[in-house]
Amino acid sequence: MADTDAVVQPRKKGLTRRQKRSLSRGAQYAVFVAAVIAFAVSADWGRLKNQFAQADIAEQMFPDVITLALKNTVLYTLSGFAVGLVLGMVIALMRLSSVGPYRWFAGVYIEIFRGLPALLIFIFIGVAVPLAFPGTEIVGGTYGKVALALGLVAAAYMAETIRAGIQAVPKGQMEAARSLGFSPARAMVSIIIPQAFRIILPPLTNELVLLFKDSSLVLFLGVTLEERELSKYGRDLASTTANSTPILVAGLCYLLVTIPLGFVVRRMEAKAQEAVK
């Protein structure tokens, strides 16, 4: 740096640090503005509007996109979340168990289901299982299949989150509970897990957001008209109308849920940060 000759020469030649900084910032703004202008000029606005923002096609999507598609997306997400939470809790407790095989099993489960693409699990549940066992029916039809597929994947992530939450509860809490005469199981249920859930509420909500998006994989299950969720609904309509407006509308419907949820998570995280002081 030229800073070294500052001692010799207080007012050095060339740019000062402040000048350099404002020059650099100016350049960054200039590049950004140039890029926006270049895009605005080169884009074929008429065509874009035609392809993505046709008001009459968008209009024709309502109310079904909400009452059917969004409703099903929410339903799939919540049922998958419920299965994932219960299963994740079991796996987390197994992971923390003093019984070796339980820990081992939980570890293998987590590695497998975190390592596989969710799509593969959907295909497995939706195609492979019915093919292999023609007689068996998964309870709840499509809803059951989706809940199971989403739940299996979510459980692996949630198990690790729940385990971390349980371990984040100070050791003294278990000691206090035990010295009051709580059995280990009762202390876990009454004292430790309630505190763990407070800690992991933000990451669990994040997991809900992820599941909300992953529910789009239902697309690959083959569902009836009544069972379509946002992505499938948007895609079907896009192909019948030969227009991409439905995709845009479906996308906006996702954001309608994910953005507020993300906001809630940040609020919770900020509050938790505050509680720690």
Binding site: P170, E175, A176, A177, G181, F182
Partner: protein, 269 residues
């Protein structure tokens, strides 16, 4: 203190107790008896094993060897119902360990309801009574985080008392407190002692030990060095190690010089 009549079997009995953490032997053969209604203060430098000993008495630490009896029941018997025995032993921690997700009253009622299976009304009555005893009746609906350290510790004492213990163990109950908050906690403990509770107190509060304890036990290096009346152990220590420790307590600047004695264990206090 008026001498207490200490008839019958000892309330707490520790026999040839050893405890190691890995290669580190923290307790090296402890024998100790505490009679019913007796108040015993355990003092000693950090790393002397005094907290470990206390934690062995309700089996929060599993002894490596030796026996612990409380109220005639052997805790070290592998077939003992440890949860049942612990209901009779109250424990107060240095870090209070209140349940932060519960109000003060819930901290006192939940253990009674879940562990002792008391009814709602009875648990609430016992909780209110014990909150009154520690002078915090007005904090019944507060959450622990809104209380001062001294108040939290008094709630923790009330929580233990709500279980109706026969013995109370205190693990440096005032060490985490700001100096001006220590007095309230010690006052509660003093009253408890006067009411005849059997107490084993690991502490650095020499004034408390001198005025309230029936006996003072000085530990160093995992063994009991001296055991006697406060006047004897604190007032006229026989052993060089006790004298060293007490002079360091009175004049902390001396600590630098003596540091090499026995400061390895860490952890438990």
């Amino acid at each position: 203190m008026t001498a207490k009549t200490l008839g019958g079997p000892p309330e707490i009995q520790v026999r040839a107790l050893y405890k190691s953490f890995g290669d580190n032997e923290v307790l090296k053969g402890i024998d100790l008896e505490i009679g019913r209604g007796e108040v015993v203060c355990v003092i000693g430098p950090s790393g002397s094993g005094k907290s470990t000993l206390l934690r062995c008495v309700n089996l929060l630490e599993e002894p490596t060897k030796g026996q612990v009896f409380v109220g005639g029941t052997e805790l070290t018997d592998p077939d003992v119902d440890i949860d049942a025995v612990r209901r009779r032993i109250g424990m107060v921690f240095q870090q209070f360990n209140l349940f932060p997700h519960l109000t003060v009253t819930e901290n006192l009622t939940l253990p009674q309801r879940r562990v002792l299976r008391r009814g709602k009304a009875e648990a609430a009555r016992v909780a209110a009574e014990n909150l009154g005893r520690v002078g915090l009746a007005e904090k019944a609906d507060a959450y622990p985080s809104s209380l001062s350290g001294g108040q939290q510790q008094r709630v923790a004492i009330a929580r233990s008392l709500s279980m109706g213990p026969e013995v109370m163990l205190f693990d440096e109950p005032t060490s985490a407190l700001d100096p001006e908050l220590v007095g309230d906690v010690l006052a509660v403990m003093r009253r408890l002692a006067e009411e005849g509770m059997t107490m084993m107190v690991v502490t650095h509060e020499m004034t408390f030990a001198r005025e309230v304890a029936d006996r003072v036990v000085f530990m160093d290096g995992g063994v009991i060095v001296e055991d006697g009346t406060p006047a004897r152990v604190i007032g006229a220590p026989r052993h060089e190690r006790t004298r060293h420790f007490l002079s360091r307590l009175l004049d902390p600047a001396m600590a630098e010089v003596e540091e090499e004695t026995s400061d390895q264990v860490g952890g438990s206090d």
